[in-house]
Symmetry: C2
Subunit: 152 residues, 2 copies
DNA sequence: CCTCTTTTTGAGAGAGCTTATCAATTTCAA
DNA sequence: TTGAAATTGATAAGCTCTCTCAAAAAGAGG
């Protein structure tokens, strides 16, 4: 049976919700209205800052505090749903479950971020890990440089 | 004529000193005792934070201000000697003249860190960057997983 | 070696992002 | 339903980094 077009996001992200619930259960944490709200908003993003999410969610819940957003996004990192990445003076929270794993090309001039995926690099990473007796769980690759526009 | 074994670092880094002097001249800036002191300390590092350099130089000059360190390291970035990279909550100033870049394998079980270098991966990174119009200045690759010991 | 203008410095105030604090509220197991 | 334990919101505090400004230093031109 196919998903109806208008089906709520919740049902399309059952895997991520299960992952969070599992983490909560294992650490004696509770599922709150705020955590559900923030999760559903987070899963629609590829990456977002706490500040941006604060403003975005202000419409749905004007009393949702910034501290709660930070706490919850950090919780997502612990649960393996998100990954924190520092750029400029802010922290970007990347959605790990979005598509396959993507890496970043980051312009040090204007801050532009281009996402990419490269199977050959991933294969070589596995090779390096195996050679050192490691089993990779996740990775982070960031290339910093100047984009075509900023080079001039 | 060969360099005597005990020759001061200053003379072994004439290229970097020239680069700085060139930048100073082009921007009507002055060569000060503090800038020389910070440069000679910086060139001995692969990467360092402003705070770390502050404590390191406190012995040589107890009155050297933290603001001066920040200003000078940012000046080095402008001159092309250093490159700022945000890691955790701090800024790492990478020494550009140190070419041998190493990446990290990090065990999520015990925290063990193994350094490695892989030319093939670096070549592929260049390829990806070029394809996207970028010129790479630096990069960061971290592989997270379990080491042989922690897997059991 | 002086003099004068411009730049730099040091110390602390201030700004921006993130975390800690704590009383009130909510969750959820019993 | 109840009560212990976790969470929240508001705000204070913390941390890193930059700005401010009077005093000091640099360096070009006498």
């Amino acid at each position: 049976m196919l998903f109806p077009a208008g089906m709520p996001t919740m049902n399309r992200n059952s895997k991520e919700i299960a992952l969070l619930k599992d983490h909560l259960a294992k650490h004696q944490l509770k599922l709150t209205r705020q955590r559900e709200l923030i999760l559903s908003a987070f899963l629609k993003q590829e990456h977002i800052t706490a500040e941006a999410m604060y403003h975005q969610l202000a419409k749905k819940d004007p009393h949702l505090g910034l501290a709660t957003i930070y706490r919850t996004l950090n919780l997502f990192c612990d649960a393996g749903l998100a990954q924190a990445r520092h750029f400029g003076s802010q922290t970007q929270y990347d959605n790990v479950s979005h598509k396959g794993h993507h890496d970043h090309l980051i312009c040090t001039g204007c801050g532009k971020i281009v996402e990419f995926e490269n199977c050959d690099i991933e294969r070589l990473q596995e090779e390096v890990a195996t050679k050192n007796g490691f089993t990779i769980q996740t990775h982070r690759l960031e290339l910093y440089g100047l984009c075509a526009h900023c080079r001039h």
